[in-house]
Symmetry: C2
Subunit: 201 residues, 2 copies
DNA sequence: AAACGATTTAACCAAACGGTTAAACTGTAT
DNA sequence: ATACAGTTTAACCGTTTGGTTAAATCGTTT
C-alpha cells in the first residue's frame, strides 16, 4: 500500500523549499530533512528533482488560478467584482506572499519544465465573458471607454506587485514590516476605490 | 597595467548570465565562456562568484534607481511627472525587461549578499519632496485626497508588473509576443491617463 | 509464522561545481 | 637583452550535488 502520509509530507516540504529558494536554489537534502525522511524517498515517490518541482508548481498554480477565475466569473456587477477581487485576492496573496514571485520567476527561468502544466489551467470563456461585461458598461455609458485587457492588467498589477516586491519596496519606502503591512491592509479597499474612480463616468 | 577590457568583458558577460539565470542558476564556466576568457580570470578580477554577483547587482541598481529618482525629483507639475514617469520609465524597462524581476528576486532570495549595496542607493529627500507636492495639490483641491505612498505604489505597480510578469501574463491573456508588446506600448500613455483620471477632481 | 510486496534506510557514485595553483605569456622600463 | 610586474592559461582539487543501489524493515495475507 502506498504511504500517502509520506507522499504528502514530501510535497509539503518541497513546496516550502521550492517557493522560498526556487528550483535552482533548492537542495534535495534540505527537502528531505524538512520532511524528516531519507533523501532516497524523494526519488522513490517523485522520480527526481524536476518531477518533484513540477508537482509543486502544478499544485501552486491550482491554488492561485481557480481563486482568480472564481471571482472574475461570478455574475456580480463589475464594480462589485473589482471590490471583491482586490479585497479577496489581496487577502489571499497576503497569506501566501511567496507564491506570485515563485510562479513568475520559475515560469521565466524554466518555461520548458513548466510548459506542460500551464496550458491545462487556462480558461478561455472567463476572459471573454469579462470583456463582454466591460464593453456593455461602456456602451451604456456607465464607465469611460477602456481596453478591458488594460484594465485587467491594472487590477492585477496593483493587487500583486506591492506584495511580491515587498522586500524591495520596503527598502525604497524605508518602512519596517509592520508599517508596510499596514499599507498593504489599506490597499484591500484602496485599490478598488482608485480603479472605480478612474473608470466611472 | 590592469586590463580594463577584460574586466569589463567579464562584467558584461556576468550581467547577462546573472540577470537571465539568477545567482543560483548562473555558472562561472558559462560566464567565462560568454566573455571568451579562462574561468580563472573571474577569480583574478572579482575574487569569486559572490563578489562578481555583487558587482553586477550594484551596477544594475545604479541603472534603474537614478533613472527613477531623476524623473520624480524634477520641478514639473505632478501630472507632468506622472506622464513622464509612465512614458520614460516603461520605455526604459522595455529595453531592459530582465532587470525588475532580477532585482526583486535576488533581493528576496539573497538579502544578506545584497544588503551592503542597497542602502547606499536610497535617497530620502526625494520621497519627502514628492509627498509634499502631492499633499499641496490635495489642499488646493486639485486632486482627491490620497495617501502619496499608495499612489506611488500604484504608479510603480502598473508600470513594472506587466513587463516583469510578461511570460505569465502572456499565457493568461493568450497573446503572442507581438500582440503583448503592442499592449505594453499602449501602456506608455494609458497608465498616466488612468491615474490622472482616478485622482483628478 | 512464513512469505511477500511495499516502504525505508545507509552507503555509495559519477558528474558538476566553485575555486586554486604553478607555470607560461605579454608588454614595458632599464 | 634582461628583468620584472601584470596577465592569462591549463591542469588540478575538494566539496556538493542529484541520483542509485542493495539490504533492512514494515505490514498484510495466507
Amino acid at each position: 500500500m502506498k504511504n500517502y502520509e509520506t507522499e504528502d509530507k514530501i510535497l509539503d516540504a518541497a513546496t516550502e523549499i521550492f517557493q522560498a529558494k526556487g528550483l535552482d536554489g533548492a537542495r534535495m537534502q534540505e527537502i528531505a530533512q524538512k520532511a524528516s525522511i531519507n533523501k532516497a524517498m524523494l526519488h522513490y515517490y517523485y522520480r527526481g528533482k524536476e518531477k518533484l518541482f513540477q508537482a509543486v508548481f502544478k499544485r501552486t498554480i491550482q491554488m492561485i488560478i481557480p481563486k482568480m477565475v472564481q471571482i472574475i466569473s461570478s455574475d456580480k456587477p463589475l464594480f462589485d467584482k473589482i471590490r471583491q477581487f482586490t479585497d479577496q485576492y489581496v487577502s489571499f496573496i497576503l497569506e501566501h506572499p511567496y507564491i506570485p514571485l515563485f510562479v513568475i520567476n520559475e515560469l521565466e527561468k524554466h518555461p520548458d519544465i513548466i510548459h506542460s502544466i500551464i496550458q491545462t489551467n487556462i480558461n478561455n470563456g472567463v476572459r471573454e465573458k469579462l470583456n463582454k461585461q466591460i464593453n456593455e458598461m461602456i456602451q451604456k455609458g456607465e464607465i469611460k471607454p477602456i481596453n478591458p485587457e488594460q484594465l485587467f492588467l491594472n487590477v492585477l498589477s496593483m493587487s500583486i506587485f506591492p506584495i511580491m516586491a515587498q522586500t524591495s519596496l520596503r527598502t525604497i519606502l524605508q518602512k519596517d514590516k509592520n508599517e508596510y503591512r499596514q499599507l498593504l491592509e489599506e490597499r484591500k479597499t484602496f485599490i478598488a476605490d482608485f480603479i472605480i474612480s478612474a473608470i466611472k463616468k
